[in-house]
């Protein structure tokens, strides 16, 4: 066995091992502690798990490529909220009154466009001003949230379209619409990062920006495209979720950025860029949702979820560092 092969294997498989552990633990513990008669590994329960993972999961795919690229985006929660507001409000605009149900694709398009534009704005600022993405998106998190409030004050924006609700609640081949979106996005982003030039360049830029520049890769456009993708996915996540719920509060999506980043880091993506895998992020998203569901299944307070996830995040960071070859890490600092 080559040196480092074991730690690579451990790191790749760690998140899936963790998921299996969670499943075993909650199944066994559920037998003794659960108040409900239903087993934890019930098929309906697991299908619901996927569906509930979708809003965070779809955004997490975008965040993974941002972080592989060596950036971070703290504004996804605000983009999510603003896209949701546009989605629900645009369907009531008098301009589209004559469209009937055709207003749905128009609303979707406008919402997705909103996400794309907001992401592009972040990317453009990071590219052209050279200000760190952390600061740019920290500012945007406040600014975009301000726009959400300015749009409709402190009132919730509501609009229920029953055709849309039927679509969002539909189950095709057993899976919910939201689950299909999560799977499709995962597949598309996986393809983008593993089979296209853009993906390869994103890894290269995150790994060693100077070397990437010397190799003739244009850093700016790649960063901007990635910010557009994460904006688009934040909007898509909103579209999927609010098609069903039909009402958005101006505070919705707050702290989403933190949950998303937690999922991505659990999946093993490095904050320093250059390393990370889409499938592991998928695992990270499932692991968090499983933990939430599991803890409520065994009757623990929902509050403990925060405590457990926070400590797991730190433990993962610690283990990850112990598994890494030491000298390599020291050099990177």
């Amino acid at each position: 066995m080559q040196p480092g092969a074991l730690s690579t294997f451990l790191k790749r498989g760690a998140i899936w091992g963790f998921i299996v552990l969670e499943l075993i633990f909650f199944t066994v513990a559920g037998e003794f502690l659960s108040l409900s008669e239903k087993a934890f590994m019930d098929v309906d329960n697991m299908l619901l798990l996927f569906k509930q993972s979708a809003p965070i999961g779809i955004i997490a795919m975008g965040m993974t490529i941002i972080m592989i690229n060596g950036n971070i985006d703290l504004s996804v929660g605000a983009i999510y909220a603003l896209s949701a507001v546009i989605l629900l409000d645009s369907m009531t605009w008098p301009v589209f009154a004559g469209l009937g149900d055709w207003v749905i694709p128009v609303g979707w398009l406008l919402a997705l466009l909103t996400g794309l534009v907001l992401g592009a704005l972040n990317g453009l600022i990071v590219w052209k001003t050279g200000v760190d993405a952390f600061i740019v998106t920290l500012g945007a998190m406040l600014g975009y949230r301000g726009l959400v409030f300015m749009y409709n004050g402190e009132q919730p924006t509501s609009h229920l379209n029953w055709t849309l609700v039927d679509f969002a609640e539909a189950q095709v081949l057993g899976l919910h619409t939201a689950t299909w979106f999560l799977l499709l996005v995962t597949a598309a982003i996986w393809f983008l990062m593993n089979r296209t030039v853009h993906g390869r360049n994103a890894y290269a830029i995150g790994n060693n920006r100077e070397a990437a520049v010397n190799a003739g890769i244009r850093v700016g456009p790649h960063m901007m495209i990635n910010f557009m993708i994460v904006g688009f996915l934040a909007a898509l996540s909103a579209v999927v979720f609010y098609s069903e719920s039909g009402s958005v509060n101006p505070n919705d999506g707050e702290l989403y950025e933190l949950w998303v980043i937690t999922a991505v880091v659990l999946g093993g993506t490095k904050l320093t860029g250059g390393a990370g895998s889409i499938l592991s992020t998928f695992g990270g998203v499932l692991a968090i949702q499983l933990l939430r569901k599991g803890l409520s299944h065994i009757g623990a307070d929902t509050e403990t979820v925060n405590l457990v996830i926070g400590l797991i995040l730190i433990a993962v960071l610690f283990l990850d560092r112990q598994l890494n070859v030491k000298g390599k890490e020291e050099l990177k600092i």
């Binding site: 050279g130 600014g143 980043i261 600092i333």
Partner: protein
């Protein structure tokens, strides 16, 4: 104008730009509404900024040492809830030191993880944000905390009291800013903080114990959070579990606005105070000219990015970034 003087003026503007912007804002708002420069209004703004300000003082140390602290918001909720709960159980005289001890323990834990174990501060404090939030909710059982006898307690002095006509929160903020400002600028410890943040490797080679300095910064930050929690608890004498939620990013915004670089090694207490006051006065000024509170979010967004952009543009001598 020759190239030299233009660069000098540009450099001066960039270095003191935050003060210039502050002055312009004050003049603009004062012209728009007379009440803005009313002494009562000014004291009111500083008073309501004091909680954010006290937290920003501690975070300034952490940021200068080259790390981040995203956990101060939920830590503030924690200390507020704990001191309110203990107030009725063991009395205020014991509750305050007990709360300080618990909050400092949390700070020491983070300091241990980031300083001695050298874990990434962003993720550690992100994890602690979530963990401490969970801790607070578990501690309070999800309920709001209230002091039973709100009239008869001397505990309210920290948030509502006045001395020499100045509200106590302002005095606490000012005193802490003075002490920490001197500690950062004039003591060996302060110099070590700059050294560790500026170039950690060089600092280590010159015999500075990096881990110990980082550890101290987080404990200091926790101390500031405990004081902020004390002011918050004493001001309202009752609190929700989520009172500090989201404040970590506002605090960071104030520190960045003050010109501290996230890479570490630069920033001062004085500039952080200016950053805090700018946020407070912008919020107040916008309200006074009749705009809703959320307009300040958008204004803050523009100001933060402009401030940091001009700062680094002056350092590199070019407005646009060299990124291809």
């Amino acid at each position: 104008m020759s190239e030299m003087t233009r660069q000098q003026i540009g450099g001066l503007l960039a270095r003191q730009g935050i003060l210039v912007a502050f002055a312009l804002f004050m003049i603009g708002f004062a012209l728009a509404n007379q009440r803005f420069i009313d002494p009562d209004n000014i004291l009111g703004v500083i008073r309501s900024s004091a909680i954010l300000g006290v937290m920003a003082l501690g975070v300034t140390f952490v940021v200068i040492s080259g790390n981040l602290d995203l956990s101060v918001g939920s830590m503030m909720s924690f200390s507020t809830i704990v001191v309110l709960d203990l107030h009725d159980k063991i009395g205020p005289a014991l509750a305050i030191p007990a709360m300080f001890a618990m909050t400092l323990c949390l700070g020491a834990f983070i300091g241990f993880l980031v300083g001695y174990l050298k874990l990434n501060s962003l993720i550690v404090t992100l994890g602690m944000l979530s963990a401490i939030h969970g801790l607070t909710l578990t501690y309070s059982g999800g309920k709001n905390m209230d002091i039973a006898d709100k009239e008869g307690t001397w505990f309210s002095i920290f948030g509502q009291g006045e001395a020499l006509g100045i509200p106590v929160p302002i005095l606490l903020f000012a005193a802490l800013a003075a002490v920490l400002g001197i500690a950062l600028a004039k003591t060996p410890f302060g110099r070590k903080v700059y050294a560790v943040g500026g170039n950690g490797t060089a600092a280590t080679f010159s015999g500075i114990k990096r881990a110990r300095v980082v550890f101290s910064c987080y404990v200091l930050s926790a101390l500031c959070v405990a004081i902020a929690g004390l002011i918050q608890a004493s001001r309202s004498l009752g609190s929700q579990n989520t009172v500090g939620q989201g404040m970590e990013l506002e605090v960071l915004a104030a520190v960045i606005l003050g010109g501290a670089s996230l890479l570490g090694g630069s920033g001062t207490i004085f500039k952080t105070v200016i950053g805090v006051l700018i946020l407070g006065f912008i919020q107040n000024g916008l309200l006074l000219v009749g705009l809703q509170f959320y307009v300040q979010y958008v204004v803050t967004w523009v100001i933060i990015i402009l401030a940091v952009w001009l700062d680094i543009a002056a350092k590199r001598g070019k407005l646009w970034s060299p990124i291809a």
